[in-house]
């Protein structure tokens, strides 16, 4: 399989603190990759460099051979990278379907159209995307009234609007009930399985990670400390020490997984 994404020697420091150091990995076509690690390990920083919100101090990122570094987020989006946010970012003063329509309007380059009625554009496509994430029943609701889990699903629909090659999901299931978490990630896995899109996600819920990720990368203090499948990571002593812990809470949780 070919590599969709190649990350080489990515480094970033903030005022002397090395947030990300020499991170190096590949993502294969159709792969579902998890990036885990303690808070402050550099996961979000990594993400922000992949999609252009931050400029790395060193290193390169290429998507299907095109260099991503140096482009603003909107360009990277047009190159085929979609994303969802750790803290949901949606247009709260619009309805659910309007949110998806905005992404479609942008994708079809009609943002400077001053005369059409925005709400009448791409309705069918938007509804199809909502159906994909089972949100079609809520299409007409104000986004500000949605439950958090629904917002996350909406974000996924928005992120898929321009048929991205790569989807970046930053803590996609944070704030969702366990059942919803698994459902959302199962849905994502399904989308990945259909082909055409590869996913990198960060996550704290190990159930979700171990249940769906094809491969797991572990970051600690900005460095990649482990890489492998679920069982490899689970038994890695270094990972246990810095991240998973050995206490009762986790055991209870993982026993259920």
């Amino acid at each position: 399989m070919t590599n969709v994404l190649e990350v080489r020697n990515l480094s970033k420091s903030f005022g002397g603190v090395q947030a990300v150091k020499d991170v190096h990995f590949d993502l294969k076509e159709g792969e579902f990759l998890a990036l885990i690690g303690p808070n402050g390990a550099g996961k979000t920083t990594c993400f922000n460099m992949l999609n252009g919100y931050l400029k790395p101090n060193a290193g390169s990122v290429s998507l299907r051979g095109q260099a991503l570094i140096g482009h603003p987020p909107r360009k990277i989006w047009r190159m085929g990278v979609g994303r969802t946010f750790q803290i949901t970012a949606t247009f709260l003063s619009m309805t659910v379907v309007e949110n998806v329509q905005m992404a479609l309007i942008s994708h079809h380059r009609r943002v400077y159209d001053l005369f059409s009625r925005a709400t009448r554009l791409y309705v069918d496509e938007a509804m199809a995307l909502l159906e994909l994430v089972s949100m079609q029943d809520q299409a007409g609701r104000a986004c500000s009234e949605l439950a958090y889990g629904d917002l996350k699903r909406l974000e996924l629909a928005i992120a898929l609007a321009h048929e991205p090659a790569l989807l970046l999901m930053d803590e996609p299931t944070a704030g969702m009930a366990p059942s919803e978490r698994l459902a959302l990630m199962a849905l994502t896995a399904e989308i990945v399985a259909k082909g055409g899109v590869s996913v990198v996600f960060t996550e704290h819920d190990m159930d979700v990670v171990f249940a769906h990720a094809h491969r797991i990368l572990v970051l600690n203090r900005g460095e990649l400390i482990a890489e492998g499948t679920g069982s490899e990571i689970r038994t890695n002593p270094l990972v246990q020490e810095v991240y998973l812990g050995g206490g009762s809470v986790f055991e209870a949780e993982s026993a259920h997984a």
Binding site: P38, N39, A147, G175, P178, L244, G245, A252
Partner: protein, 233 residues
């Protein structure tokens, strides 16, 4: 100690809670469980006086407190730890604690900075640091410590395990156990059944703004369809 009956809450025109009732007894840890958006945080905020449009009754320590301002409720001995931490980023840790400081109460344990720094040693090391310089886990500790500075009898803990690493979750469980040992009552909102089971005495389950279950964890285990329906673990 806390008795909530028929609580309703609205944001704008949208009704979020509908007839929610719950109670917390003396030195009891009670879990309020449910999915995200089920109404856990809104229940807590409503109890604390942070939601403007509510109805029903909220009795706390023999007082009707619905309609009271948050500060008045706090002064009756209720502490609130928000899910999004809301520490004061431009204040030092010591100053953050100072904001929470209130007079000692005869009926509740008294917390001092010194005592809290023993409970949260990481904070002690960084007492002169600004709140925004802390990591997520440290911020979570600080927000609890800050609330304890008010010497509460009852603490509302909104999703303490959310968004933090498993190692910190373990530490959190120990802190809650310590609070119970000190004689506090705790209402904790939680999505994680295992965490809730470890730290609390009994549970409520809320869904779409309505209470669906109340009872012990044994009851819950005896009715798997409930947890399957509303928590579906």
């Amino acid at each position: 100690m806390l008795d909530v009956t028929n609580l309703g809450a609205w944001y704008g025109r949208a009704q979020i809670l509908n007839g929610v009732s719950l109670s917390v007894g003396e030195n009891e840890v009670v879990a309020l469980m449910g999915r995200n958006g089920a109404g856990k945080s809104t229940t807590m905020k409503s109890i604390m006086g942070l939601v403007r449009h509510i109805d029903g009754t909220i009795r706390y320590a023999e007082n009707e407190i619905r309609g009271n301002t948050p500060h008045a409720i706090c002064r009756l001995g209720m502490g609130y730890v928000p899910e999004d931490r809301r520490i004061f980023g431009d204040l030092t840790i010591e100053e953050n604690l100072e904001v929470g400081r209130r007079e000692a109460r005869p009926d509740a344990p008294e917390w001092t900075q010194k005592h809290l720094f023993e409970l949260f040693p990481n904070l002690a090391e960084r007492r002169k640091n600004l709140g925004k310089q802390l990591s997520g886990g440290e911020q979570q500790m600080l927000t609890i410590a800050r609330t304890l500075m008010g010497n509460p009898k009852l603490v509302l803990l909104d999703e303490p395990s959310e968004g933090i690493a498993p190692v910190i979750v373990e530490q959190m469980a120990r802190v809650i156990a310590e609070l119970k040992r000190e004689g506090l009552s705790v209402l904790i909102s939680e999505q994680n059944l295992h965490f809730a089971r470890i730290v609390s005495d009994r549970a409520y389950i809320i869904e779409k703004g309505e209470m669906r279950f109340e009872g012990s964890f044994a009851d819950l285990d005896g009715n798997p369809e409930i947890s399957n329906t509303y928590l579906a673990v």
